[in-house]
């Protein structure tokens, strides 16, 4: 636990530091850009002038979150071959699709701004052989100086999950994915604490979606874990 908190603090420091370096960016406009005739720009003119500001913190968030999401894809990729139950299969199926799509979104956002764009899933041959991957292959290049993003599983935790089967896999998968998602919420929290971050409408929407979707999924996973935990005499509704 303390490890994750430390990582979070480190990330926070990183994002703050990144934000401080944005002062020189011409795109970080603090006041409305004014075209030569001194009439205020329309929103369309502002978009065409690419005047919507973003900060180094936004960029670092996207880069870091790509690696964060890639680990969830790796974890979800083990579900079909590790004896997971049907509810976990359903959940993981959705996580797999969702996190891949979000990686694609973050890559589009970075590429459109000519920022370095990580592609941790590029090594996938067909996208269908995740289970054959070693636990470590998804762990290469953590981004942000190879520091684990908040909530990411350590190599030991990945090994532990990959070695588990059946109900033990279910329990570990849920436990670790809650840890993983909780880290994503921390990343959003830290980003929003950076002055000028998430001003871009697409970034704000994305982090809001990460916040609500993963909060919702954490709740779902906690209930699934609780159901596994509940003793049978407490009963289940028909």
């Amino acid at each position: 636990m303390s490890k994750s908190t430390t990582r979070a603090a480190a990330l926070g420091a990183l994002l703050v530091a990144a934000a401080c370096s944005t002062a020189a960016r011409p795109s970080s406009a603090a006041t409305a850009p004014v075209p030569s005739n001194n009439a205020p720009m329309t929103p369309a003119q502002m978009a065409d002038a690419h005047a919507t500001p973003y900060t180094r913190a936004d960029v670092a968030f996207m880069q870091g979150m790509i690696h964060h999401h890639a680990q969830a894809v790796t974890m979800a990729g083990w579900v079909p071959t590790h004896g997971a139950s049907a509810p976990v299969k359903t959940l993981a199926g959705r996580i797999n699709v969702a996190q891949r799509d979000e990686i694609a979104f973050m890559q589009r956002w970075l590429r459109a701004r000519h920022e370095p764009t990580p592609d941790p899933l590029a090594h996938e041959m067909s996208g269908h052989d995740m289970a054959g991957m070693s636990g470590m292959s998804g762990m290469s290049g953590m981004g942000a100086g190879d520091t684990l993003m908040p909530g990411m599983l350590t190599p030991e935790q990945m090994k532990q999950l990959d070695a588990a089967r059946g109900a033990e896999f279910d329990r570990l998968f849920l436990t670790f994915m809650i840890q993983h998602h909780t880290g994503a919420l921390e990343m959003v929290q830290h980003l929003l604490a950076v002055p000028g971050a998430a001003q871009d409408a697409d970034v704000f929407r994305f982090v809001s979606d990460v916040n609500t979707d993963q909060t919702t999924e954490i709740d779902r996973m906690r209930k699934m874990l609780a159901a596994y935990d509940a003793s049978s005499h407490q009963g289940t509704r028909p």
Binding site: A30, T182, R205, S208
Partner: protein, 616 residues
């Protein structure tokens, strides 16, 4: 803390869970629901890409006009969400369309040529819009929204100039809206719902749904994102209710924050809990048996962690005529009692293994059913690909049974879309065809789908419109945010392409009589999430719509239907006592027909309409 959960507390609760090895328990698969399967011959497959020149497929609809965004909101190249068109509201001959940078007032006096009456610049996102008489309400959520409507943003983490909440405009002169007030809220307003109280003519209410993180108390006093255990005044598990005094709308303020999502423990019905609980009970039994064999005892149940459940709602659709609301609240669909609008009360909550994010709700006109939508991926992701599970990102239809929700079936756009088209279930509204539950629904770049959900277990598409992607190689955000029926036409708000108008075209699925009957329903104003009761004026065409429906479903013999049509024609041509007696006689015959019909409900509807015509 800006975010709701104490993540440390969550993780500790989880990590303290005791585990023990056991064999894998297979879950009972849930019954296979009905989903309209895609067809490889669907005309929507393979449409060419383009912004304003994409390929189009249309079926049982007629495109009346397409109208590009106002210049202020039309960039030279697609600009993503900052210029996205959002939801629609209607007043008289005007449609008001939200935009993440303001709103557009469309003059729709001539639907074949909608014109921009005003393009009001006011950044804020999502600019969800509603009207009540001369008032316009606009949602503001993002960090860059400003009190002065400036578009430059606001980069301070705590700012006195930031607006997150509801802006109020006076639209007495709709071509020149006047910004008269605003109400700041703790999470801003992602969407909102105007709630009218049949017993309170002096006030209206606004339910505010915020899905963004809670703002700091330093920016807005009293805002707390702590858990309710840490802070009883936590913003979480609540909605905000604004009261707007109509005599002085500038005095609008938050009147209550009902905790409609509190104490939502075990899921009360459908999907997740039944399926998961069966699997869990089985697993538990196996684990206990294994433990007993090994001479061990099972670990104690771990102590409860922080409260779980949805911390906020997305859309809430109110149906004041029946005193109910459907709240689409993150992982749950909730049914609310809103007879006291300032203090809504939760009646029931449903969950669903296949639902990712409960987004919106639509009631059937009789209030016996409710359709919830799952906005899996938030609307920005391509979730209608051939590889996407047809139960994910779909609609789920429930029967309302004594304040509980019984699941009936799913509906998902039946045509696969490409991976460069953002697509998932989104906003729609009922089309007032008497005797049937028909709605138009927006599916982003999946287009508009019109479908019949009269039989909740077997929803069926009856019309559609679709364009190809913005670009064949890259996903550019676009597509229909909402598709709503208003006074005879379907209006579509297209995120990147503007504002489109459609008519229904008659087909085997929907006759001209049914369309003409739908056109009889008139609203002075329409906020779709403040669902109005549809009431049809007494008319021959309404009776003929029922006759057409009985013909379609063989509810009466063709000989009987032909005789009924003849009688209606004779009565319409006649007048006075002749008409009355013809109709009265027909109504009596139909009462008898109803007893032997396979669709007696509809024959009774027809008999009632004929009786009303006789009394007219």
């Amino acid at each position: 803390m800006r975010l709701g959960y104490s993540s440390v507390a969550i993780a500790m609760g989880v990590l303290s869970a005791a585990g023990c090895a056991s064999s894998h328990a297979a879950a009972t698969p849930s019954p296979s629901p009905t989903v309209t399967q895609s067809s490889s011959t669907d005309a929507r497959v393979g449409l060419s890409a383009g912004w304003f020149n994409a390929g189009e497929a249309i079926w049982n609809l007629k495109k009346v006009s397409e109208n590009k965004p106002a210049p202020a909101f039309l960039p030279k190249s697609p600009a993503g969400l900052s210029l996205a068109n959002s939801d629609l509201t209607f007043t008289g001959n005007y449609a008001i369309q939200g935009n993440f940078s303001g709103f557009t007032v469309w003059d729709i006096s001539n639907p074949a040529h909608a014109t921009v009456a005003d393009a009001y610049v006011c950044r804020g996102s999502q600019s969800d819009v509603s009207v009540y008489k001369n008032l316009l309400f606009v949602s503001g959520e993002e960090l860059g929204g400003r009190l002065d409507c400036g578009i430059q943003g606001d980069t301070a983490t705590v700012s006195p100039e930031r607006l997150r909440g509801i802006r109020i405009f006076d639209i007495s002169d709709i071509r020149h809206p006047k910004y008269i007030a605003n109400v700041q809220t703790c999470r801003g307003s992602h969407t909102h719902t105007v709630v009218t109280d049949p017993n309170d003519p002096n006030n209206i209410y606004i339910y505010v749904s915020g899905s963004a993180p809670v703002r700091p108390a330093a920016e807005l006093a009293g805002c707390s994102g702590a858990t309710p255990q840490q802070d009883p005044n936590s913003e979480l598990f609540r909605i905000e209710v604004i009261q707007v005094p109509l005599a002085n709308p500038a005095k609008a303020h938050v009147i209550s924050k009902p905790d409609i999502l509190a104490h939502l423990g075990a899921v009360e019905h459908h999907g997740e809990t039944p399926a998961d609980s069966i699997a869990a009970a089985k697993l538990r039994a196996e684990r206990e048996a294994a433990a007993a064999r090994a001479g061990r005892t099972m670990p104690q149940r771990r102590p409860a962690g922080p409260p779980t459940g949805p911390v906020q709602c997305h859309d809430i659709t109110v149906y004041p005529a029946i005193g109910l609301a459907g709240g689409a609240c993150a992982g749950y669909g909730v049914l609310l009692d809103i007879r006291d609008p300032a203090h809504p009360r939760r009646l029931f909550a449903a969950s669903d293994t296949n639902f990712s994010f409960w987004h919106s709700a639509t009631f059937s006109n009789d209030g016996h059913k409710v359709l919830f939508s799952d906005e899996w991926g938030g609307g920005t992701q391509p979730r209608c690909r051939a590889t996407d599970d047809p139960h994910w990102g779909a609609d789920a239809i429930f029967t309302i049974d004594h304040d509980s929700l019984d699941f009936d079936g799913y509906y998902k756009l039946p045509a696969p879309q490409t991976q460069t088209e953002n697509c998932v279930a989104h906003n729609g509204s009922l089309i007032p065809v008497p005797g049937r539950d028909i709605m138009a629904q927006a599916w982003y770049q999946g287009g508009i789908s019109v479908f019949d959900w009269t039989d909740p277990a077997h929803p069926k598409e009856i019309a559609y419109f679709d364009r190809g992607p913005m670009n064949k190689d890259t996903l550019y955000l676009a597509g229909y945010w909402s598709a709503y029926w208003y006074n005879g036409h379907i209006y579509g708000s297209e995120i990147a392409r503007g504002f489109d108008v459609f008519d229904l075209a008659p087909s085997a699925n929907l006759t001209q009589n049914e369309i003409d009957a739908a056109k009889l329903v008139h609203f002075d104003q329409l906020n779709v999430q403040d669902q109005p009761k549809l009431v049809w004026p007494t008319a021959f065409v309404v009776a003929r719509a029922y006759v057409d429906q009985l013909t379609r479903d063989n509810g009466l013999s063709s000989a009987r239907l032909s005789a009924v049509s003849d009688a209606l024609n004779r009565a319409e041509k006649a007048s006075g006592a002749d008409r009355t007696s013809t109709l009265a006689q027909l109504a009596t015959q139909l009462d008898n027909d109803a007893q032997s019909s396979s669709d007696s409900r509809r024959v009774k509807l027809l008999a009632g309409e004929v009786r009303a015509l006789a009394a007219k």
